[in-house]
């Protein structure tokens, strides 16, 4: 079975499954995108943000 027909049977065949996959995909993309951008941002600003210097000041009980 080709990829196209697999995709058709898995996602597009029923509208309820299709709408559900759109919502799920948006949710997953939102989280993944946020994680990715944050990872890059933290790498770019290594050592400058509060989470990087917090350990110097916080007292663990």
């Amino acid at each position: 079975m080709s990829f196209a027909s697999t995709a058709y049977n898995a996602v597009f065949r029923r509208n309820s499954v299709f709408v559900g996959s759109v919502f799920l995909g948006a949710f997953a993309f939102g989280i993944g995108f946020d994680v990715g951008v944050t990872k890059f941002y933290d790498y770019w600003n290594k050592g400058k943000q509060w989470k990087d210097i917090r350990h110097r000041y916080v007292q663990e009980e």
């Binding site: 995108f33 946020d34 951008v37 944050t38 890059f40 941002y41 770019w44 600003n45 400058k48 943000q49 509060w50 990087d52 210097i53 917090r54 110097r56 000041y57 916080v58 007292q59």
Partner: protein, 331 residues
């Protein structure tokens, strides 16, 4: 040449031509045919009186508006008896750690800057718009900020008896000011009001560069410049005479992270702190900026692709005209 004209135009030209003498026939016909569609039927609007009146009204109106807005006529030079020093020296553009499009604040610097503000600046300057809680997770831990807030007494109330009472500060309290009101601030500073520093970076031309230059730029007044008693000379301050004396000197504070407290280090730290105070959303804002640029550029590329995809057949089609076969028929 005439084959490209419609039959109606030809007919019109022919009927016009027949009424004239035969010597003028050729010239008159070709001219009226050539200009039949382009010549304006009536007098054009551009040459009308309405257009003249409208254009004059627009010109007079825009000059009047400009004069009202800027107080002087446009395109006329003016002479001012002023000097560049009245504007203040322009600050150098410094490479701030938060200057780049993707750069956050240096939070260790914010922490040191808060210490400088608390120990030096807070003697005269308030920081009205910053609450203790704003420092939590930015430069201090919650426990540290709570301890700092508790050292300050706040007036609260009224209680059950309708009386105001004193209580130690909480995280939700705003930073205490050095003076109870503006009059007290002026009275203590020779009539000059130390401005609130919450938004000072946004409120001054040059922002952080200006503030750093001002704090480190105190020099003796040059020859010929008179500075009154109680005033100080600073070339970066508009007018040159500033009430605030130089306050930052090497070793004035002692940083808890061991950074040498030079004048420029303290000025840089307190400027970073005040940049944060003026723009606490700064770090979050730049992160959202990255996301927005990625998402919107992707959507833009997608829309360009879809436009080209949809327009492809329309742009590439070829329109052919096959004239009907008229051979053997009379016109």
């Amino acid at each position: 040449m005439l084959s490209r004209l419609s039959a109606g135009a030809l007919k019109k030209a022919a009927s016009a031509g027949t009424s004239r003498s035969s010597s003028l026939f050729n010239g008159a016909r070709s001219a009226s045919v050539r200009f039949a569609s382009t010549k304006a039927s009536a007098e054009s609007f551009i040459a009308s009186r309405t257009a003249l009146v409208t254009a004059s009204a627009v010109a007079v109106g825009s000059v009047a508006w400009y004069t009202h807005l800027y107080g002087s006529l446009p395109f006329l030079g003016e002479v001012h008896a002023s000097h560049l020093s009245d504007e203040g020296l322009h600050p150098v553009a410094y490479p701030w750690s938060h200057k780049g499009l993707l750069d956050t604040f240096d939070h260790a610097s914010i922490r040191r800057g808060y210490q400088v503000y608390r120990e030096v600046c807070a003697a005269c300057h308030s920081l009205d718009r910053i609450a203790w809680r704003n420092l939590v997770g930015v430069s201090h831990t919650a426990d540290e900020v709570r301890a700092m807030a508790e050292e300050v007494e706040y007036t609260d109330g009224p209680n059950d008896q309708g009386e105001m009472f004193q209580r130690p500060g909480k995280l939700s309290d705003y930073m205490p000011g050095p003076y109870p009101n503006e009059e007290a601030a002026r009275a203590s500073n020779g009539g000059a009001m130390p401005p609130d520093l919450s938004l000072i970076i946004k409120a001054r031309h040059g922002g952080a560069d200006y503030l750093f230059s001002l704090l480190t730029g105190y020099i003796d007044p040059p020859a010929g410049v008179e500075i009154r008693e109680g005033m100080n000379y600073n070339p970066y301050f508009p007018g040159g005479a500033i009430s605030m004396p130089r306050v930052l000197f090497d070793g004035l504070v002692e940083y808890d992270d061991g950074t040498p407290a030079t004048t420029s280090q303290m000025a840089k730290d307190v400027t970073t702190f005040l940049s944060w105070a003026a723009e606490p959303e700064h770090d979050e804002r730049k992160k959202y900026g990255i996301k927005a640029v990625i998402i919107f550029s992707t959507l833009f590329a997608l829309s360009v692709y879809i436009k080209r995809f949809k327009w492809g057949p329309i742009k590439n089609r070829r329109i052919l005209y096959n004239p009907p076969d008229t051979t053997g028929k009379s016109h």
